[in-house]
């Protein structure tokens, strides 16, 4: 495996196949915990750790796991790392642990994890598998932060807990309530679709000129 190939694996997860905006996977934590930027980042990093660690292990064990029981084995591997993260967060910050609640344990049921283990880690050697998982995890974190940041600014007038506006700011409360999650994610998807549309148009135009 050469270095550029590995870098590609990393970027693939981070941007080209961003789990939230491109593949629309792992929606439950995406919408549930993104009420503030801090929550989003912690959730994203916790998911990244579980993703990278379980993909590494799945990739190492890819010849040892029989095909028939692979899904069950992946789930148990993922659940083990989730338990580790769950207890680690409880030990580091009890406030954060209470804010994220059962959603840390629900990382087990995040489709991104099983999807990566099945579609990538089970077919690739450890190094590219881990890099891809790491990129995917950071891409997930980025997506969460983009949603969480917007929701915190609009819904509470703060960013990472710092007030941005004067006392006269009227918070747009619905943004930190459940519907706000749907609206912000939907808005981002439309923004990305618009970018893609514009770049497709440009590419089509260039091809027209060259031919």
């Amino acid at each position: 495996m050469s270095a550029p190939k590995n870098f590609d694996e990393f970027m693939d997860g981070l941007w080209k196949q961003n789990p939230i905006f491109v593949m629309v996977l792992g929606m439950c934590p995406t919408l549930a915990v993104t009420v503030s930027a801090v929550n989003s980042i912690s959730m994203g990093l916790a998911t990244t750790f579980v993703l990278a660690a379980s993909c590494l292990l799945v990739s190492l064990l890819r010849h040892a796991i029989p095909k028939q029981v692979r899904i069950a084995s992946y789930i148990v591997i993922i659940a083990t790392f989730v338990t580790v993260v769950d207890y680690a967060i409880a030990a580091i910050s009890l406030d954060l642990y209470e804010a994220l609640g059962a959603y840390i344990k629900l990382i087990v049921a995040n489709c991104v994890l099983l999807g990566r283990a099945e579609a990538h880690a089970a077919r690739n050697p450890p190094i590219p598998a881990t890099l891809n998982a790491f990129g995917m995890g950071l891409g997930f974190t980025l997506g969460l932060l983009m949603i969480g940041g917007v929701r915190e600014i609009l819904g509470a007038g703060k960013f990472f807990g710092f007030s941005l506006f004067s006392d006269h700011f009227q918070p747009w409360v619905v943004m930190v309530l459940p519907p706000g999650g749907f609206f912000v994610l939907g808005a981002w998807l439309i923004v990305f679709a618009a970018f893609k549309h514009a770049s497709n148009k440009r590419n089509a135009g260039l091809q027209g000129v060259s031919s």
Binding site: M27, I75, A79, L106, A109, P178, F182, F183, I190, A193
Partner: protein, 195 residues
Amino acid sequence: MNNDTIANILLTTILPGNFVLAMFLGMCPFLGVSQKLSTAVPMGIATAFVILVASVSAYFLNLLLVHFHLEFLSVITFITVIACAVQLVEMFVKKTFPELFRQLGIYLPLITTNCAVLGVALFQTARNYNFMQSLAYSIGGGIGFTLALILMAGLREKLQLANVPTLVQGAALSIMLGGLLSLSFMGFAGIGGGE
């Protein structure tokens, strides 16, 4: 011990605390299987059944884990039990309704990674529900999930006739619809006396 009454829990989980629209559990099937009413209804029922089985088994498993002071194993044991329950449902559907099995496709085994199922098991443990309360919680959750899926499928069937701008088509549109549904379900806040 939690003091919520049975009726209270049932109403709360179906309407204002709907699993999909207020707690964001089970988003994948909500977005993936809600194109047609004919698949949304059986998918909702299958999931509701798995939720019920998972909740009952999680309740007894938890008693066992607490007895042996093995609470840290809860996630691993719950997910294994859920995977087995899903396998059971999958075999049953494949045997009795092969046509339906084909339509549901990948989403049937994916019930395993449906957060709603694991969520019920985890939330009922976190809230110290007793057996009857857990039962009400899981039945309400299943009904709420099916309701959300059916409403969404109905909306999307109607939308196929509408002229939607190309940019908004696909996932963005379904998520915006989910937002509107979620907004309207917030209007039920207060039913059930909780929160």
